[in-house]
């Protein structure tokens, strides 16, 4: 039982990290940004490439990967997506992001092959024993780093000028322009931070369960479910949603069968969309009619 809780906590932390990174981009750009899956994968693969091909020490490789991925995707947004945001249909950004995802994922496959690769450099060994449960080092890393980064994002949003600007753009982009906030600059920062967090998530997941070109999409899928049941209007309820989803999935795998894990995630999603379409943290605002 302890083992079940520890495992659920680990998955919850990982999907929390990725869902908050996705939220930063989704809330500011209003685009369902599928390319994020490639961001996750790219973070893990650049870390793999730097450590294996260039023999860099792991922590330095991680830092370089995060910075490179963050700046790359911020630049891609400036070149590719900024112009599309003023397109008459909201779908344009989504379609472009799917296209970019496919291109990037195939590039990764071409360069590194489709096979699973090993990211961790330490030998596989028995985890630390806590009661009757075993905890691996990668699990400890995931829990600590994800919690720390999530707290960092909350701090950023609540207490800094940039954070307030991000929340402003998320809630009312037109008003921000009237107040003299540079919308594109704020979006650029939100994408840089979101991509950096996603790269971290990819590396953490890679340390825990190896890397392959499809990994990003699978991680993103879970995290999007977390974001939707947490309520896309804010990030306060994301931890609750992440823990709820992870517990539901792990209990299913434990008592029923592991093949139902994905199904449970989507059943929960559907129930939420019917019963509480705005998610746990969602609120209806009164509209001012003129």
């Amino acid at each position: 039982m302890t083992q079940l809780l520890i495992n659920a906590l680990t998955s919850a932390c990982l999907s929390l990290l990725i869902s908050v990174s996705f939220w930063l981009i989704y809330a500011t750009t209003r685009t369902f940004y599928i390319t994020h899956a490639a961001t996750i994968t790219l973070g893990a693969y650049s870390c793999y490439w730097l450590t294996r091909q260039w023999g860099m020490p792991f922590p330095i490789a991680v830092l370089i990967s995060i910075v490179v991925v963050a700046t790359t995707f911020s630049a891609i947004d400036k070149v590719l997506f900024r112009g599309l945001r003023s397109a008459p249909f909201g779908w344009v950004g989504l379609v472009a992001s799917i296209g970019l995802y496919v291109v990037l994922q195939n590039l990764i496959s071409l360069r590194f092959g489709d096979e699973t690769q090993v990211l961790h450099t330490t030998p596989i060994m028995e985890g630390q024993q806590i009661g009757d449960a075993f905890v691996s080092n990668s699990q400890i890393l995931i829990v600590i780093i994800s919690t720390f980064l999530f707290a960092g994002v909350v701090f950023l949003l609540e207490n800094t000028k940039l954070g307030r600007a991000i929340r402003g753009v998320a809630s009312n982009p037109d008003m921000c322009i009237l107040l003299g906030i540079d919308k594109n600059l704020v979006i650029g920062w939100a994408i840089a931070i979101g991509s950096g967090l996603a790269a971290t998530g990819g590396i953490l997941s890679g340390l825990d369960s190896d890397i392959n070109p499809m990994m990003g999409f699978r991680l993103l899928l879970n995290s999007v479910v977390v974001m939707i049941i947490g309520g896309a209007s804010g990030i306060r309820c994301l931890p609750l949603a992440a823990i709820f989803l992870a517990l539901a999935q792990h209990t299913t795998a434990y008592y029923l069968d592991a093949k139902w894990m994905d199904a449970v995630a989507f059943i929960i999603l559907i129930v939420y969309l019917i019963w509480k379409p705005l998610g746990l943290g969602g609120r209806h605002f009164k509209k001012i009619e003129i």
């Binding site: 083992q3 495992n7 496959s109 699973t116 090993v118 596989i124 499809m214 991680l219 592991a258 093949k259």
Partner: protein
């Protein structure tokens, strides 16, 4: 206006005439050179690309050997590679292309049973011979008169794994199986042969290979109280399960499936792979072969591709050479039916994977040996307990 129409009319006439002449010429061309094209269908990209790429190398070698040694009947044999992406839908459309556009008399493939089965349903009515190097789904036994394989059915593998568990005195087994034709079939056969005389399967779990959360899958095993664990899957998922089990402090004897013999398996599972036992259809082992043909094959392969071939390479090579033999034996045109008649009547063929002989269903008849992983290498399991 009129002259424009006239020009257009002439252009259309010329193009139709050109097309007719082109189509007429096609058969003449192929007859003159007496070329025989063989379709090869492998997962060259995608999750299972590791098998496909290995098979492709072996077939490239086989094509050259075939033309040099066997193709004395004045025929030039070539291979047309198609990518099934390890996916039934893409496999079937690639096979349809091979059959209707390239008009091949025989197809080698696929590496995955889940693709070979639907492809067999396309090959059989078109009278095209399908030889799979390694498909092992029991359903393939009765897939048709044109369908062959040189790898034993899963019935043999699952039975051998269960026999091993029984002979080592294990009484409580746990099973993890991949939720597809392969995993489900061998898990079922293992269960059938293991559960008697007081032995039973105490835990049975199926998983999707798309998961990223292996801990959720392996955790229930810790409380299942099993002394032997049978993992019925491919090398990637078996490696992930072994790794997670080690991290969770589980110490039981693991039995894997034949598909784990892949150098990537040891890379992925690291130390956790030590001691896992698995059955392998007997006949090919690059390191310790006594068979002269195998030695020549290993030498030639190593010279050309720079590494020792494994079972996938050897079985792909033999599949192609069987078709090559059939083609060389024919004095007239090569058809699927002619190849089928040759395979049915040939008796025993001595290939690099040992003696190949088909039963009346197109299934190969061969034995199984038990192997294990020791110090990062796949070695025969020591027979002394």
């Amino acid at each position: 206006m009129n002259s424009k129409r006239l020009i257009l009319f002439i252009l259309i006439l010329v193009s139709i005439a050109g097309a007719i002449i082109f189509v007429r010429q096609q058969p003449d061309l192929s007859n003159k050179e007496s070329r025989v094209q063989i379709g090869v269908l492998f997962p060259l990209t995608g999750d299972a690309s590791s098998y496909g790429q290995k098979g492709k190398k072996a077939i490239e070698l086989a094509v050259d050997d075939c033309n040099a040694r066997e193709g004395s009947a004045g025929k030039k044999v070539t291979a047309i590679f198609e990518d099934s992406k390890g996916n039934p839908k893409d496999g079937v459309s690639a096979a349809q292309k091979l059959i209707s556009v390239d008009k091949v008399p025989a197809i080698i493939g696929d590496a995955l049973s889940s693709v070979t089965l639907p492809v067999a349903a396309v090959a059989e009515p078109n009278k095209v011979v399908l030889i799979s190097p390694d498909s092992s789904a029991p359903a393939l036994t009765h897939a048709g008169k044109y369908i062959y394989r040189i790898w034993p059915s899963d019935l043999v593998e699952g039975e051998a794994a269960a026999e091993f568990a029984v002979s080592r005195g294990f009484s409580k087994a746990a099973i993890f199986h991949l939720n597809n034709d392969y995993g489900n079939a061998i898990a079922e056969i293992f269960t059938k042969h293991f559960s008697n005389d007081g032995r039973k399967v105490v835990f049975n779990s199926s998983y999707q290979d798309t998961t990223t959360d292996w801990r959720a899958i392996v955790t229930p095993l810790a409380s299942a109280d099993a002394d032997v664990v049978y993992v019925a899957g491919y090398y990637k998922d078996t490696a992930a399960i072994l790794r997670t089990a080690t991290e969770l402090g589980i110490k039981a004897q693991f039995i894997g499936a034949t598909a784990i013999e892949d150098e990537n398996f040891i890379k992925l599972a690291g130390k956790a792979s030590e001691g896992i036992v698995y059955p392998l259809a007997s006949g090919f082992d690059a390191a310790s072969t006594e068979n002269t043909d195998s030695k020549i094959f290993v030498e030639a392969f190593k010279k050309r591709f720079g590494y020792d071939p494994g079972w996938m390479e050897a079985y792909s090579y033999d599949s192609f050479m069987l078709v090559c033999k059939a083609i060389a034996s024919s004095n007239e045109g090569v058809t699927g039916t002619q190849i089928r008649d040759y395979l049915d009547g040939m008796g025993s063929y001595h290939g690099v994977t040992g003696d190949i002989k088909f039963d009346e269903n197109g299934d190969v008849i061969r034995g199984v040996t038990i192997k294990t992983v020791k110090d990062g290498h796949f070695v025969p399991y020591p027979n002394k307990p």
